[in-house]
């Protein structure tokens, strides 16, 4: 526990505590609309954190992370609908499936030296295989979609994940916090140092005795497993799954914008990025709506502008800059 907060300046801890408190009391003051926005923010903070393990820490660019969301979502949903198995047990199956898929992609790529852009293309290819495959997978509804019995808002049942948005909010909050802590632990252990070495220079990493194949596999497996948990949440929160939506490449891209804008490879990047992107784009849509304007594609244009600005003004992302401004840049002892 002490190791976990080692090197963090006191005012950083105070800020973190304040953020936690705000997120915990958030639903008491938020209206229904704001609550759903907060859920989406946390969802992207979580998936961004999971993606960041692979790209931010270990330097392996995945542009097909939707596959792990989709596999997790379909696995848990199918077990629930067909066999009445509770999502928390389905979660184990979801993680196992995503980990197996990640391991397969990782093995194919790292064993046969597929790296860089080609690795990214491989991840897209697998996500597309899954999308097309599930389009024809009748057991889970194929292209006409797969539906869970709609939630009964009258009472919350945490065990079967049936309930109102407040319950889902807290589930997502716990997941996001857990992912954050897990990533902090990973980053401060040998595995985190080794990932960064591989990210910076793989040949140099090997010369220091690092089995780069093994550590890259760990990165993919952990990232895939974490991402599939978000998939289970997705299925039980939205209650419907369409391969065209779940596995679509735009889903994979959406997931990685947060960490890119917030700061790749940082712990707070995915969090900040999710808040900025979702928060600002929702605000903009509300404003446009209030003005009576209905602009299709406004969100995508907004994402594009955000990316451009960050790339030009803050190429390291918002968090490294913000941390310096706030005097929170972690001291290296």
């Amino acid at each position: 526990m002490r190791r976990l907060i080692e090197g963090v300046p006191p005012r950083g801890l105070v800020g973190l505590a304040a953020l936690c408190l705000a997120l915990i009391v958030g639903p008491w003051v938020a209206n229904d609309y704001l609550l759903t926005v907060l859920i989406v923010i946390l969802y992207f903070a979580y998936t961004g954190q999971a993606w960041n393990v692979m790209m931010g820490f270990a330097g392996q660019l995945s542009l097909g992370h939707a596959i792990y969301v989709g596999l997790g979502a379909y696995a848990a949903a199918a077990l629930y609908v067909h066999f009445g198995i509770a999502p928390w047990i389905g979660l184990a199956a979801a993680i196992a499936l995503a980990v197996a898929c990640g391991a397969l992609i990782g093995f194919l790529a790292f064993r046969f030296g597929v790296a860089g852009v080609y690795f990214a293309i491989l991840t897209i290819a697998f996500a597309e295989f899954a999308r097309i495959g599930f389009d024809h997978f009748g057991w889970v509804g194929a292209s006409s979609g797969f539906f869970l019995p709609v939630a009964n808002y009258a009472h919350n049942d945490l065990w079967t994940l049936r309930g109102n948005p407040t319950m889902f909010y807290y589930v997502m909050l716990v997941l996001t916090a857990a992912a954050f802590v897990l990533c902090r632990i990973l980053l401060k252990s040998r595995i985190g140092y080794y990932w960064q070495a591989i990210r910076e220079d793989e040949a140099a990493a090997r010369s220091l005795g690092i089995d780069t194949f093994r550590y890259k596999m760990y990165a993919v497996i952990i990232s895939a497993g974490m991402t599939s948990v978000a998939g289970v949440f997705f299925a039980f929160y939205y209650n419907n799954l369409f391969p065209e939506q779940v596995f679509h490449i735009s889903r994979s891209i959406e997931m990685i914008l947060g960490p890119i804008i917030g700061g790749i490879g940082t712990l707070f990047g995915p969090l900040i990025g999710a808040f900025l992107l979702t928060g600002l784009s929702e605000t903009m849509l509300e404003l446009l709506g209030a003005l009576g304007l209905d602009v299709p594609g406004a969100k995508q244009v907004f994402y594009g502008i955000c990316l451009l600005l960050v790339v030009i003004v803050l190429p390291e992302g918002v968090w490294p800059w913000l941390a310096r401004k706030l005097g929170l840049a972690e001291k290296q002892s």
Binding site: S207, L208, I210
Partner: protein, 255 residues
């Protein structure tokens, strides 16, 4: 004096840490390394010299596991290591630097060395203690919080050595670690290496163009030319051999 030197050399050969036995490597039509045989005694400092394209780096890469020899054997501490991968070679106890330095640029100097030290230490705190020791030895302790990319070339060269040393190697391979340094910086590294060798018994193999460093450090020198060994022995003797003067040192050696 001469007898004593011969005596220590004889002992070194008996307890060879690294044995290169008739190693060859061909790249398509070019025979880059041709039947090279060389031994490095435990606790000694040896150097491989030769003109550009002589096969020095190829030989180095075969020891470090980057390339596998076509023929011959490389034996380290009693075990065959030819054909092993670079990370396996490192785990056996061979540390290396790169000719064109490649520190982990965005990481701090300290983190660079911690990554090396983690090879034999699971706990980052223990690795950090070891990193601090090594950084102190290499005159980099005061710069430990800087980003590696912010260092000057001489500092980056020493960082490479520090990072490799942190893996606790028995043999340190240095690939032109003095290249591009001013004489003052060269002497600084020479002093550090000699002290490491004396204090810890670290065995060192240099691949080097800077004769000043080779003459100051190496007990034995292997001269390569067109992939073949053309001379071998104590540096003072080797630089006088006509074949070496002609092929490599040229008029410079007359000084």
């Amino acid at each position: 004096m001469a007898g004593a030197q011969a005596g220590t050399r004889g002992k070194a050969i008996m307890s060879a840490l690294l044995t290169i036995d008739a190693v060859s490597k061909r790249f398509r039509g070019v025979l880059a390394v041709d039947q090279v045989t060389f031994e490095i005694g435990s606790g000694s400092i040896a150097a491989v010299i030769g003109p550009n394209g002589a096969g020095k780096t190829t030989l180095f890469n075969m020891i470090a596991g980057v390339l596998a020899p076509d023929r011959g054997a490389i034996v380290f501490a009693g075990d065959r290591i030819d054909g092993l991968k670079p990370d396996q070679v490192c785990r056996r106890g061979i540390g290396r630097t790169f000719q064109l330095v490649r520190p982990f640029p965005v990481l701090s100097v300290e983190d660079n060395v911690i990554i090396g030290a983690l090879l034999h230490r699971n706990d980052p705190a223990a690795a950090r203690r070891r990193a601090h020791e090594v950084l102190a030895q290499l005159d980099l302790f005061d710069k430990r919080t800087q980003r590696a990319s912010a260092l000057t070339l001489p500092d980056r060269k020493r960082l490479e050595v520090a990072r490799a040393l942190a893996t606790d190697p028995k043999l340190l391979l240095l690939d032109e670690v003095m290249a591009g340094l001013r004489p003052v910086e060269t002497d600084r590294i020479v002093t550090i290496l000699r002290e490491l060798n004396r204090a810890t018994g670290l065995t060192i193999l240099l691949i080097e163009h800077v004769m000043r460093a080779v003459m100051a450090l190496a007990e034995r020198v292997l001269v390569l030319h067109h992939g073949a060994a053309i001379a071998e022995g104590a540096p003072a003797a080797v630089v006088r051999e006509p074949a070496v003067v002609q092929s490599y040192l040229g008029a410079e050696a007359v000084d």
